[in-house]
């Protein structure tokens, strides 16, 4: 019987049927037209749905743009090869609930540097300096920067506009080489190649060997001890040993235990105060394991020598582990994102309900369309397309709110973090995709219900 039906059906089919593709397109255009018409029919309901989607998607996108900025990988190519060693110099009674301090004191830092157990290693601490413009009557400028060792630039892939870093020999020679930022170079030298020129920092002369082109990885993984991770680009990088020779105290955090009684620079260096952040570059898991053993051996040696009164307690975290451990993502950003997503979810539940009401109110029309030959799939598609137009309108509104929100995000987050949130092309795209997909997903059930309207029940004359 079925076979006979097949051959007969072919005989009865309409003579001129366009190709399926153009038919599909034409039907989609038809549904779109019906959808827009339907949206105009119930302006209040439509406005409500569009507003809900718009608000929901915008809240999510604004908080997402901030979260994305603060939770990103600042050095994607190398984050798994860069490690910051920690050695517990405070002991179980004074350390951070069992965790070693987040930085090293001078003694341990220098010991790790001199042991040279990694492919590359650097020590760093922040500096607050003054720049005295030469031969001018201008007031001195403030310049922030870091005391670092030669490997810093290669390890962290610092890009240079002019010149480059300095050598290990310069480290040994405790030289007065400095690298400056493009911004400072612009201020002092009008952006010209200043390599070889002299710069006065805090009353001492330094020789510029390199100018960094814009480099400010955020979060600033390499200095989470002194910064929250979102500071402005540093102006200056100075030879670590030279900064020590000039007895430059850290411009960042300094954390001590017990009683502090030093009265001189040497006394400070030998104290248990931590203020130096060490970094090492390790290429393979084997290297990592070897370095970890080295750290444990070092701590054990200190215990044997009587400097540590406790068993070795060391850590070796890579960049992402370090960001996580230091809670770089502000809890506010996470909570805001979660709450915004919850908000969006509620907006979608709201939309499901309203779409259901809107679609089922047209049960009669659906019955007529079914009687006139629409398949369930055609009804389903029609209503999904209608929901898609709601999503699109919601996306437009959401984009508007997002743009407003991102520009006003400074009200909601700290300025240094708010600055990172920006409305780029990917966020615009994401806003639309999320708005449309979410709305269409919300319409699955209402459209399914619409497609399963019983035509006969709707059409019986009573």
């Amino acid at each position: 019987m079925r076979q006979s039906h097949g051959s007969r059906a072919r005989r009865f089919s309409a003579p001129r049927i366009p190709s399926p593709d153009s038919r599909t397109l034409s039907m989609l255009a038809y549904y779109l037209q019906l959808g827009l018409r339907s949206l105009r029919r119930n302006p209040a309901l439509t406005t409500l749905m569009v507003m809900a989607i718009g608000f929901g998607v915008a809240a999510s996108m604004i908080t997402w743009s901030v979260f994305r900025a603060v939770s990103g990988n600042p050095i994607p190519g190398k984050s798994a090869q860069l490690f910051t060693p920690q050695v517990d110099g405070w002991g179980p009674q004074q350390n951070l609930k069992g965790e070693p301090a987040e930085a090293l004191g001078y003694v341990d830092a220098m010991a790790l540097l001199r042991a040279h157990q990694a492919k590359r290693q650097t020590l760093l601490y922040p500096l607050r300096l003054s720049v005295i413009p030469q031969g001018s009557r201008e007031l001195p400028l403030n310049a922030d920067g870091y005391a670092v060792t030669a490997d810093f630039f290669a390890m962290f892939e610092v890009p240079f506009r002019y010149g480059g870093g300095w050598s290990a020999q310069d480290d040994e020679a405790r030289g007065s080489e400095v690298v400056i930022s493009s911004k400072l170079n612009q201020k002092l030298f009008g952006g010209a190649d200043s390599v070889g020129r002299t710069i006065g920092l805090g009353g001492h002369d330094f020789r510029i060997v390199g100018v960094v082109s814009h480099w400010n990885p955020r979060p600033r993984f390499y200095d989470l001890f002194s910064t929250s991770g979102f500071a402005d680009e540093p102006d200056i990088y100075m030879v670590f040993n030279r900064a020590l020779d000039l007895q430059m105290r850290t411009g960042g955090r300094n954390s001590c235990r017990g009683s502090i009684s030093y009265t001189s620079w040497q006394g400070y260096l030998q104290s248990n105060c931590v203020w130096v952040t060490p970094w090492v570059e390790l290429d393979s898991p084997a290297d990592v394991a070897r370095y970890h053993r080295f750290l444990e051996n070092y701590a054990a040696d200190q215990q044997r020598a009587g400097r540590f009164g406790w068993a070795a307690n060391v850590r070796l975290r890579d960049v992402m582990q370090w960001l996580d451990y230091e809670h770089v993502v502000p809890p506010e950003s996470r909570i805001a994102l979660v709450v915004a997503l919850g908000f969006f979810l509620i907006c979608l539940v709201n939309t499901i309900g309203l779409l259901l009401a809107k679609f089922m109110r047209r049960a009669g029309e659906i019955g007529v369309r079914r009687a006139l030959g629409a398949t369930r799939r055609e009804i389903y598609t029609q209503y999904l397309v209608e929901a898609g137009t709601v999503g699109l309108a919601g996306g437009v509104l959401g984009l508007l709110f997002t743009a407003l929100g991102v520009s006003g995000v400074g009200i909601l987050f700290q300025p240094e973090i708010a600055r990172l949130a920006r409305l780029d092309l990917s966020l615009v795209g994401l806003t639309f995709v999320v708005a449309i997909l979410a709305t269409v997903a919300a319409a699955f059930y209402p459209a399914w219900r619409a497609a399963h309207v019983q035509p006969a029940w709707q059409l019986k004359s009573s």
């Binding site: 409500l48 608000f55 001195p140 805090g202 006394g267 809890p331 506010e332 908000f343 909601l412 700290q414």
Partner: protein
């Protein structure tokens, strides 16, 4: 008025999806709004924390030295000259050197112990340094003891750690160290080998920082009579005469540059009044409070609108049924009561689920973000608010339903 629950439940069973959606929306809204209210309340409490400072008249100058190659004596001479110049300004009441100031957003803090041998600290105190003008300059209220004498003020260079023998502490620190209340004249150790004796108590005095870790040490601070002549820089805290803040803030940097040009006072944030300082240090709290408020308001509005929308649809769908009821003698208020009761049943289900979700969400933030436990009062307020919201939202469509004419019973759909 007699309301029958059973027919309502029967009707709801036939509108499972809509009922479920409204209940779910109310539940989620309750969960979010409770927690948002809790966060808002907490953050607003932070925003209004007292600093102890005469905020209307005090401002802070962040002064950096350009020439780092000077001895402590040279720096100290400069500091004393600067202070003299500041205090002589007509708009200025007083000035003090300082290593930090309340609400700075972080700074120097020391562990405090009762004996030098004690390893586990008793508490942690924010450390302020200043001369005998510190109390008057900040406008701190001395509640016991005395101010520093000029001869007690010591000088501390960059590479030194000095413990002065006297200190003024905040009431909160005094209470923490000496719960019996007789702190005056007693000594403590703050990471020094020598003790400091409490000569005065001020109340209140906020710490420099507002970070979460310091919440357990709120208001615990000590002041040492020190001019911390750090070669890198120093803060000058200045108190203007009443109403002359703007004049003082304008004149102060001129006076300092007149003393010596080799210094840096950042043109953007080198001089800040307390309004700015407070605004900056609480930007996280304010931001969260604003964000949560906006989300709560919009959320409640959307939920209310959603209830209006769905109920209107139901009313439209049941016009004939309502007409039949009216024809059979139901009064307008019976119809009204029907829809109000229906909404109440749905909302009640929603708020029960929502209360569970709200507590669960709070517990999650407690474990994940070290936030504190939410008082059930917030859930209570939220439940009442959402039930009222539901009843309010359903009122308009229910009134419309109550006005359906009995004639509708005879019309075809």
């Amino acid at each position: 008025m007699h309301i029958q629950i059973r027919p309502i439940l029967a009707a709801l069973r036939r509108h499972k999806a809509g009922t479920l959606l409204i209940a779910l929306q109310i539940a989620l809204t309750l969960a979010i709004v409770c927690n948002a209210l809790f966060i808002i309340h907490q953050r607003l409490a932070n925003l209004s924390a007292a600093s102890g400072v005469d905020e209307a008249n005090v401002f802070v100058i962040a002064n950096m030295w350009a020439d780092l190659d000077r001895s402590t004596e040279q720096v100290d001479a400069q500091v004393r000259a600067d202070l003299l110049a500041l205090r002589q300004l007509p708009a200025v009441r007083n000035a003090t050197p300082a290593s930090g100031y309340p609400l700075r957003g972080g700074g120097w803090d020391n562990f405090v112990t009762m004996t030098p041998e004690q390893v586990k600290p008793t508490t942690d105190a924010a450390v302020y340094t200043g001369d005998e003008h510190f109390l008057d300059t900040l406008g701190l209220k001395l509640v016991a003891g005395r101010n520093f004498r000029p001869d007690e003020v010591m000088v501390m260079g960059t590479q030194q750690a000095i413990t002065p023998p006297t200190a003024i502490v905040s009431q909160a620190l005094a209470d923490r160290l000496f719960p019996d209340g007789n702190a005056l004249g007693k000594s403590f150790y703050a990471m020094g080998t020598a003790p400091s004796t409490i000569v005065g108590i001020v109340d209140p005095l906020h710490r420099q920082g507002v970070d979460q870790w310091s919440n357990g040490y709120a208001g615990q601070a000590l002041i040492w009579p020190l001019r911390a002549d750090d070669e890198r820089g120093i803060y000058y805290i200045v108190r203007a005469k009443p109403g002359q803040l703007a004049d003082a803030m304008r004149e102060a940097p001129k006076a300092l540059y007149a003393q010596n040009r080799l210094r840096i006072i950042d043109p953007v944030d080198g001089i800040q009044d307390y309004a700015t300082i407070r605004h900056k240090v609480y930007d996280r709290d304010r931001g969260m409070a604003i964000l949560m408020s906006v989300i709560s308001v919009v959320l409640l509005a959307i939920t209310a609108a959603g209830i209006v929308g769905l109920t209107s649809f139901w009313v439209g769908q049941r016009r004939k049924q309502i007409g039949v009821r009216r024809a059979l003698g139901a009064r307008q208020r019976d119809i009204l009561a029907y829809f109000l009761t229906e909404n109440f049943l749905i909302s009640a289900t929603g708020v029960v689920l929502g209360a569970v979700l709200a507590v669960a969400f709070n517990l999650w933030t407690v474990t994940r973000f070290e936030m504190s436990h939410m008082s059930m009062a917030y859930v209570g307020i939220g439940v009442v608010a959402l039930l009222l919201l539901g009843q309010g939202a359903v009122l308009a469509p229910a009134l419309r339903a109550s006005r359906v004419s009995p004639v509708e019973a005879t019309r075809s759909v």
